[in-house]
Every structure is written in structure tokens, then in C-alpha cells.
């Protein structure tokens, strides 16, 4: 069955799209609002502002790829759609970080899990981080609006076997579990969301808000990287960018972007990095500090029956049994989910080599993997990482894996193994050096109690980068106010996951959608009040 490519159709119909790789001369572009980043924040803001009648330019450092390019192979998807070809890591290499880098940002490659911001997180922000107006009651209408716009609904089909084992384990143990809401429409249930949806079922920014913005006359720049915020006193007067070639190296052509207002939405690594590189005023040295990752542990389990964890909706069940058990500021909790498995992902995120590794890979279709996402940024001894700008303008991220993290990791490994055995696993393997497949919960529990946990030796991954440019009303705690407006530059806003004052304890896309919808709507009203008639 032929599959329409709405991006190809839109471009043919005359959308304003400029590809940096084709730029040979310097250009200057102007709009009411310049948005840096095209992910959950940038896409949502572009839609709302353009719908309000404002002229918008969206700037994305990655390429414009669409369903015609999504061939469901990791060797294509990772270089095309992920930051650093999916090999991005913290400076000590101990945490691998998955983040999108293409039009649509991480929404193009995420697993579609959509969760409203947990109430304990919002209460913590209000009580400890001077955030105002972001209670669940105040946010829920925005979540509802975005859920309607992006077809976010509870997954109605049966979970695939990978998720079903999570559900079965919870049922056996009496643990909480929830059916996940996903942003999909007419989903084919294939399981390749992480490589770009090949059938345009995922309602990512790529196929929803950005096309809407371009249909209204907005402009999209791809392969154009913002490098410098030009500012003086309390105003931004331009953002300087570089055109990039197909290898994402500068072509030599530069782009000057001018607007009445500027929105940074490049994500929790690139927004703070751009601001730091630009020397944005930061008297309390907040930028790039408290960068959160939901550092994630993995536990493999072998089942007699076929799991085929690559097939079917990647995430449809989660368990919050352990997220808030000791209160928001108490011992860090962890959320239980499952990842889809594909050959490169599994081969690189497991341990060992040679025959033992080959034997594990041969059991690919019997393998179930559970993950535990640790809630960072609440406990005083798990305060996240720190971004810094290197001499060449790129970034490095130091993320200390503290004793508090490892204590939580040990608990998480035990919970995952207990759950997997309860679901009927024959063997369980905590993914950490020194561990082997074990055949009973009793044996595994003891091995986990005795296991050595350490950076590099224990596999830790992240798919959720947050923080580094916090929101709130107290300037000693926040770079932007509770509506995302800069405390120091009157025509600058930040609308992405960098504004979170802690991690969420939940997958972030819906929080970014809801908060951005709220903040961009308010911004549109303010800009329209001062817009001169055309």
C-alpha cells in the first residue's frame, strides 16, 4: 500500500523551507518570532504563534527527513535523526544519551509515551523552586488541548509481549501499573517509532504542528545551527546561525535571524549551551547546572515464549510503584518501563563480547528488557549534571553518578528482577559487569545485594535530557519566569525541557507540549497587542 509523504507533498506545494546545505551566500531573514529548535517546544510554539497570525521562522540544526527516508534500519536512523549518531555520552562516557537531531527534534524518534506532569513534581517546583501557576489544575486544560491536537489516547490494543511481561509482573506482585497514552493515529503497531515513523502514524511535530506552521506561510530552516545570541542591555537584536552541509559541517554561509521576539527550544543541552556561548547574563550562574537525565538501568530476562521485543508499540505499560515511595525529596525513586529492542541497541547496551555476547544475541526473540528511570533533581545528593562550553564552542556534560544514585540503582535492579521472575522469566541478567544470567529470584536477589556498581561497568542510559535553564520567579533559582520569559532579556523566551527545575519522574514530551501551549498562547497575546497593522 503506498504511503503518502506529507512533507514531500507540502514542499511540492510551496512550503517555505531552506536547507542549509544548499546555501551558498550569507542571508538575513526576519519574522515576528524566531524559534530555535523544532522539537516538542519549538513545534508547539510555532503552531500557536502562526495560528495567531504572527510570522514565524523555525530553525533546526538537523536535517529535514520524512517517512520516505525512514527505512526502519538503525544504521540509517541513528546518523540521520539522532544527536551524534546516537553515540552522545557524558564526559566520562558512563551515560549514553539518546536525543533527536532532525526536524521534529526528539518527537521524530521518541517512543510516543505521553504522560501528564506528575503532581508531586509540580508541587515540588511550587514549594522549592519558586514556580507559580503550574499546578495540575492550571495545566490540565493545556494537556487536554494538546492531547486532542496530537491524538494522545490510551493504547487500546493489547500490549506487545515485552510490555505485557511488565504488566504481568505488576499484577503478580500487586504493584501499580498504567496503560500508556500514545500520540498516534492509525498506528500500524510495527514498533519502529525510534527510527522515525514510516507510516506517519506518530503525531510528532514533523507531521503536525510544523506542517501547520508552514501551511500558514511560516519558514523552516533545516541544517542551520544557531551559534550566537546577539544581545545588548536587556534586548536580543539577532541570532547568528551557520548553514551546515549534509555532514552537518559549516558551509561557510551564515544566516542572520531577526525578530521581535526569540524563543529558544533547542532542548536541555543546546539551549543552555547557546546561552552560555553567547554570554547571556547569568548572575547566579544557573545556566547548564542541574541538568537531569533520568539515568536509566536495564535488566534483561529470558522467557520460554517468544517476546520479540522489537515488534509492536514500543511502550504501552509503565509502573510508578517506586517513583514516589519516599516522597518527592526523599530517597530517589524510579519508574519502570520497557524499551523496544533492535540489534544495534541491544548489542551495544549489553555487556561482554565473544561467545557469551553472541549467545545472548541469539536469544534475541526470547529476551525481555525492563528499564528503571531514576528520578533525579529532587534529592540533594542527586542534583544532576553540569554542562560546560568547550573552547571550540561545543559542550561537555559532567554527570556525577553519586552514592545515592548507586543505592537507588541497586534497589531498581532488585525490583526489575523480582518483577521479571514474577512474570515467568527463566533467567534474569542485571546489565552490569560481573553479572551473569541467573535462574532464581533468591539467587538474583543475593547477587544484586553483593554486586559491584560503577560508572562504565554498569550500563546507564538516558533518553530524557532536562534542566539547565530553570523557570521560576526567584532569580536566584531561575533564568526564566514561570511563563518561560527571560528574567534578563525582555524579548527572549525558553520553551523546552531545559526549563524544568528538576526531572519529571515521567517521560517529558507531554509536559513540554502543555507548558509550551500555555506559555506560547500568552506570548502570542502579548505580541499581538504591540503588532503594528500590516
Amino acid at each position: 500500500m503506498p504511503i503518502n509523504d506529507p512533507i514531500a507533498e507540502g514542499l511540492a506545494a510551496g512550503w517555505h523551507h531552506l536547507d542549509g546545505s544548499t546555501m551558498t551566500e550569507d542571508v538575513q531573514l526576519e519574522a515576528d518570532v524566531v524559534i530555535i529548535g523544532s522539537g516538542a517546544g519549538g513545534g508547539t510554539a510555532a503552531d500557536i504563534l502562526s495560528e495567531a497570525g504572527l510570522k514565524v521562522i523555525v530553525v533546526e540544526a538537523g536535517p529535514l527527513k520524512s517517512s520516505s527516508d525512514f527505512d526502519m534500519e538503525e544504521r540509517t536512523a541513528y546518523p540521520n535523526l539522532y544527536q551524534q549518531a546516537a553515540s552522545m555520552k557524558t564526559s566520562d562516557k558512563a551515560i549514553g544519551i539518546f536525543q533527536g537531531r532532525a526536524v521534529g527534534g526528539s518527537t521524530t524518534i521518541n517512543w510516543t509515551t505521553s504522560i501528564r506532569t506528575p503532581e508531586p513534581t509540580l508541587e515540588f517546583w511550587a514549594a522549592e523552586k519558586s514556580v507559580s501557576g503550574l499546578s495540575r489544575n492550571e495545566l490540565d486544560p493545556w494537556f487536554e488541548a494538546m492531547e486532542n491536537k496530537l491524538s494522545i489516547r490510551e493504547w487500546a490494543l493489547s500490549p506487545n509481549a515485552n510490555n505485557d511481561k511488565l504488566k504481568q509482573g505488576c499484577e503478580q506482585l500487586g504493584w501499580e501499573y498504567t496503560v500508556i497514552k500514545r500520540n498516534v493515529a492509525a498506528c500500524w503497531n510495527t514498533g519502529y517509532c525510534g527510527m522515525g515513523c514510516p507510516v506517519n502514524a506518530k503525531q510528532s511535530m514533523l507531521v503536525t504542528t510544523l506542517p501547520a506552521m508552514m501551511t500558514r506561510g511560516g519558514t523552516l530552516l533545516s541544517r542551520v545551527k544557531a551559534v550566537q545570541i546577539e544581545h545588548h542591555k536587556d534586548r536580543v537584536f539577532g541570532i547568528r546561525a551557520q548553514a551546515l552541509n549534509e555532514q552537518l559541517k559549516p558551509t561557510g554561509a551564515s544566516v542572520m535571524l531577526k525578530g521581535r521576539h526569540y524563543i529558544l527550544a533547542g532542548g536541555a543541552i543546546h539551549t543552555p549551551t547557546l546561552m552560555m556561548r553567547s554570554g547571556v547574563i547569568d548572575p547566579y550562574e544557573l545556566l547548564g547546572k542541574r541538568t537531569f537525565l533520568h539515568p536509566t538501568l536495564l535488566s534483561g530476562a529470558l522467557f520460554d515464549e517468544t517476546i520479540s521485543a522489537h515488534s509492536g508499540a514500543p511502550q504501552s505499560i509503565y509502573s510508578d510503584e517506586f517513583v514516589w515511595r519516599d516522597g518527592a525529596a526523599g530517597k530517589p525513586g524510579y519508574k519502570l518501563e520497557v524499551p523496544p529492542l533492535h540489534p544495534v541497541l541491544l548489542a551495544s547496551k549489553t555487556i561482554g563480547y565473544g561467545r557469551s555476547h553472541a549467545e545472548l544475541m541469539e536469544q534475541f526473540n526470547q529476551l525481555q528488557v525492563t528499564i528503571a528511570l531514576v528520578r533525579d533533581g529532587f534529592h540533594p545528593k542527586l542534583e544532576g549534571g553540569r554542562l560546560s562550553v568547550k573552547a571550540d564552542g561545543s559542550f561537555s556534560l559532567d554527570y556525577p553518578l553519586t552514592d545515592t544514585f548507586w543505592e537507588t540503582a541497586r534497589d531498581a535492579f532488585a525490583s526489575m528482577a523480582e518483577l521479571q521472575f514474577a512474570a515467568g522469566a527463566q533467567k534474569v541478567l542485571p546489565i552490569s559487569e560481573g553479572m551473569a544470567m541467573m535462574g532464581s529470584w533468591k539467587q538474583t536477589r543475593q547477587a544484586i545485594a553483593d554486586m559491584s556498581l560503577a560508572p562504565l561497568k554498569t550500563v546507564v542510559a538516558s533518553a530524557h535530557v532536562m534542566g539547565g535553564c530553570p523557570l521560576g520567579e526567584d532569580r536566584q533559582l531561575a533564568m526564566v519566569d514561570s511563563h518561560g520569559r527571560s528574567h534578563y532579556l525582555e524579548n527572549l523566551s525558553v520553551m523546552d525541557g531545559s526549563v524544568f527545575p528538576s526531572s519529571l519522574g515521567a517521560n517529558p514530551q507531554l509536559t513540554i507540549y502543555g507548558m509550551t501551549a500555555r506559555n506560547a498562547t500568552r506570548l502570542a497575546g502579548e505580541l499581538l497587542k504591540t503588532k503594528s497593522p500590516a
Partner: protein
Amino acid sequence: MKRRHFITGAFATTAALALGVSLYRPELEPVDAEDSHRALFAVLVPVLLDGALPRMSSPREAAINRTLDAISQTLTVLPQSQRDELELLLDGLENRLGVLVLTGSMTPLLLRSPEQLVVMLESWRDGFLEMQQQAYYGLRELIMASYYSCPEHWGTLHYSKPKI
């Protein structure tokens, strides 16, 4: 010097022709740049992928060569900072002083037996020096990702992408 078929490539090609099939059909773009670390990877790949590589010599060598091409391709898509770090490591493993620092022996890796290479990898894996640990994990991830990125290596996994 270009060494696209470092390991008895001629033999693999001959065998394939004799069987009337092409065992080696690279789908990735050929890497034009001089591939100076191919020899080094050619001794590491069979050790790290022992058990995953085919046992029969012809398909085994085809798979090794395919993986070496995929490694070259993977290196081209890594960010410059990571390529620089890997280049530093690979250069170190190709000169005597670097090998001495990283492995405690001046014997070139190309002259070591698979068993000796396993001892080296295990010492890095279990070691306490961050430099050695990063070398182990960096090379392991690069080789594993490159091998399993190739659809022709998915046979033992019983994995295939759906037809849409």
C-alpha cells in the same frame, strides 16, 4: 594504502564466484579515505565477535570484511570530538609506546594471538584505569554496533524488519 579486503579477500571472492553467488555485497557507501586502522580492527573483530561470526571460512571472512567496512562508515558519522578520541586510541594501539602504556607489553597487537588479545581486553575491562576502561568500552561499542547494523548479520537473531 587501501586494504578493503585485509583478510584473504581474494580467497573469499574466488569462493563466492565458484559458488555462483556474491557473498560480499556492500550496501554502504565505499569509504574512500585511506583506512589506516583496518589492520588493527581486523585482529580485534574476530575476538570481539567470536561466536557471532560464521564458522565457515568464506562467509566468515566476508562478514569480517563487511564489518570492517561498516566500522569505517560508522567512524564517518561520529562527531569530530569522538573521532579525535578514537583516532588517538587507535594511533596509540598502533605504536609501541602507546601499546606499552595501554597494555603493559610492547608486542604489536597484530602479532598477538586471539588468546593474548582476550587477556588484553579482560585486563582493560576489569582494570581500574579509566583510560583502559574507556578503550575497552569504546572499541566494544564501535565493533558491536557496526556488525549488528548490517542486515546480513541478523540471521542468528531471527530478526527482520517488517515489509510495509
